[in-house]
């Protein structure tokens, strides 16, 4: 469904992606990992068409990202930092996004699941970081799309909301959705992810299941395995 060929991106003098190839065809949860500045967000934003690559080709469901913006109808995106126009109310924001996307929605259930009812009439500027993230999650999950892209979904969530998020992910995975996640919380990744895509210096250094990763590095602990591939590459 996602096909990335020879992707290059430079910000000023900083070469972030250099010849990245990626192809994902099946559903499941894919964790995009890598050290800070390895190009995770740039890769995600390139797939979304927010960052324009210097070279290379991306297609989502056979639509080339460069020319056909309508493919974004099939993507639900959760941005890394939940920043919304502050003078809108939560309710208004949700109905606005619904109006813009013109797709069937299931917002009530999600609002109840994340206990957002008491906040619906509050302005977004007055919400706490965690509550904003919950709104963010509702916005990302309320549409039924085949592809989900979640950039650090766990930021600021309390344990209860985290459990709800995991349930949501599980349920969407069972529905055959493809879910891309970036996260620095390895415990969370280990729990939810089917496959790991490890980025290093603008390329994919490792792609495979967590079991493969353990085998490759010879470490049983997931955290140590991730640390091991990072140091292997330094040798």
């Amino acid at each position: 469904m996602i096909q990335v060929n020879d992707l290059h991106k430079k910000f000023g003098k900083n070469q972030v992606l250099q010849g990245l190839d990626l192809s994902i065809d099946n559903g499941g949860i894919f964790a995009v990992l890598g050290p800070n500045g390895s190009g995770k967000t740039t890769l995600i934003k390139s797939i979304l068409g927010m960052v324009i690559p210097n070279k290379g080709d991306i297609s989502v469901q056979g639509n080339r990202v460069k020319t056909k913006w309508k493919y974004r109808k099939e993507i639900n995106y959760l941005p890394q930092i939940a920043n919304f126009p502050g003078n809108l109310k939560v309710k208004e924001l949700i109905s606005m996004i619904m109006d813009l996307r013109q797709k069937p929605v299931d917002a009530e259930k999600l609002i109840a699941q994340f206990n957002l009812e008491p906040h619906l009439n509050k302005k977004l500027a007055t919400l706490s970081g965690g509550t904003k993230q919950k709104v963010n999650i509702v916005l990302a999950f309320m549409f039924d799309s085949p592809l989900y892209i979640l950039d650090e979904p766990t930021t600021g969530l309390d344990p209860n909301a985290l459990i709800q998020l995991k349930q949501l992910l599980d349920q969407e995975k069972k529905n055959g959705k493809m879910i891309l996640i970036t996260s620095h919380i390895l415990q969370f990744v280990e729990e939810v992810a089917d496959e790991v895509i490890y980025l290093l210096e603008g390329k994919i250094y490792f792609k495979g299941s967590i079991a493969d990763l353990r085998k490759k590095t010879g470490k049983d602990n997931f955290e140590h395995a991730i640390a091991a591939i990072a140091s292997q590459s330094n040798d």
Partner: protein
């Protein structure tokens, strides 16, 4: 695009500044009319205010709105919306709400004063039309500056400099060049120079419409001969349109190539 326009417009209609701007023009209109008792003079005074103030407000509002709605823009970029629609929608939202404040703020006192009965209605309409053009032009220029500068302070600085240049410095340079080159025939030069700057062009258009060009001496006569005709008016409006459309095109072009 219409949807983005709608939301930007609603957003601005809810903001206090739109009302401050509206009430300012409302008060200005009432004060000028009822203290002056002469519609023609009121139009001239208004012109002097509009020519300077409208570009300034357009520039500042445009830059401010762009930087303040950055997060919102990023949210929209991930939605299935064409990029250029997002930015054009926001631009038109700002430009329309400013134009509405101007037209309503000045229109209401003039209508209450009995404008339709007087024969200055055309002068007054021309004033509003140029005011609307100046709003569209300077808001577009402001958006251009903002989209090319990630740094807010720089963006604001360039925007204010642009306004200062077109509203004040340009005239100074123009006058100086007239003095330095006074030995040469300057009719065409001054005609072209005043057409290239939208602020000067608007001022000239209104002044000549008001039939006070006799005060401007020989050059005034040349100007009158050009701008007074239908052809002159047509060319002027065409140039104002160009000033509006070119920045809008650049905005759409830039928007399609920017990383967020």
């Amino acid at each position: 695009m219409i949807k983005i326009l709608k939301y930007s417009f609603y957003d601005l209609m809810r903001s206090r500044w739109s009302y401050v701007y509206f009430i300012f023009y409302l008060l200005l209109g009432f004060v000028l009319l009822f203290l002056n008792n002469d519609v023609s003079k009121a139009v001239i005074t208004l012109m002097n205010v509009i020519i300077v103030l409208v570009p300034l407000i357009g520039t500042i509002f445009g830059v401010m709105y762009y930087y303040n709605s950055r997060e919102f823009t990023e949210l929209l970029l991930a939605q299935p919306i064409k990029r250029s629609s997002i930015f054009l929608g926001q631009y038109l939202g700002v430009a329309f709400s400013l134009t509405l404040s101007l037209v309503l703020g000045l229109g209401i006192p003039f209508v209450l004063y009995g404008l339709f009965g007087s024969n200055v209605i055309w002068d007054f309409s021309l004033l509003l039309v140029t005011g609307a053009f100046l709003t569209l032009i300077f808001t577009a220029l402001a958006f251009n500056i903002a989209i090319s500068n990630e740094n807010k302070i720089k963006g604001f600085g360039y925007a204010v400099l642009l306004w200062l240049f077109l509203a004040v410095i340009y005239d100074g340079l123009f006058l100086m060049s007239l003095i330095i080159l006074e030995d040469y025939p300057l009719d065409t030069f001054s005609l072209v120079a005043s057409m290239l700057n939208p602020i000067d062009l608007s001022r000239t258009l209104i002044l000549l419409k008001l039939d006070i060009s006799a005060l401007l001496g020989y050059t005034g006569a040349v100007f009158k001969k050009f701008f007074g005709t239908d052809f002159g008016l047509f060319v002027s409006i065409a140039i104002l349109l160009l000033w509006t459309i070119l920045p809008i095109f650049r905005l759409a072009y830039k928007a399609n190539r920017k990383d967020f």
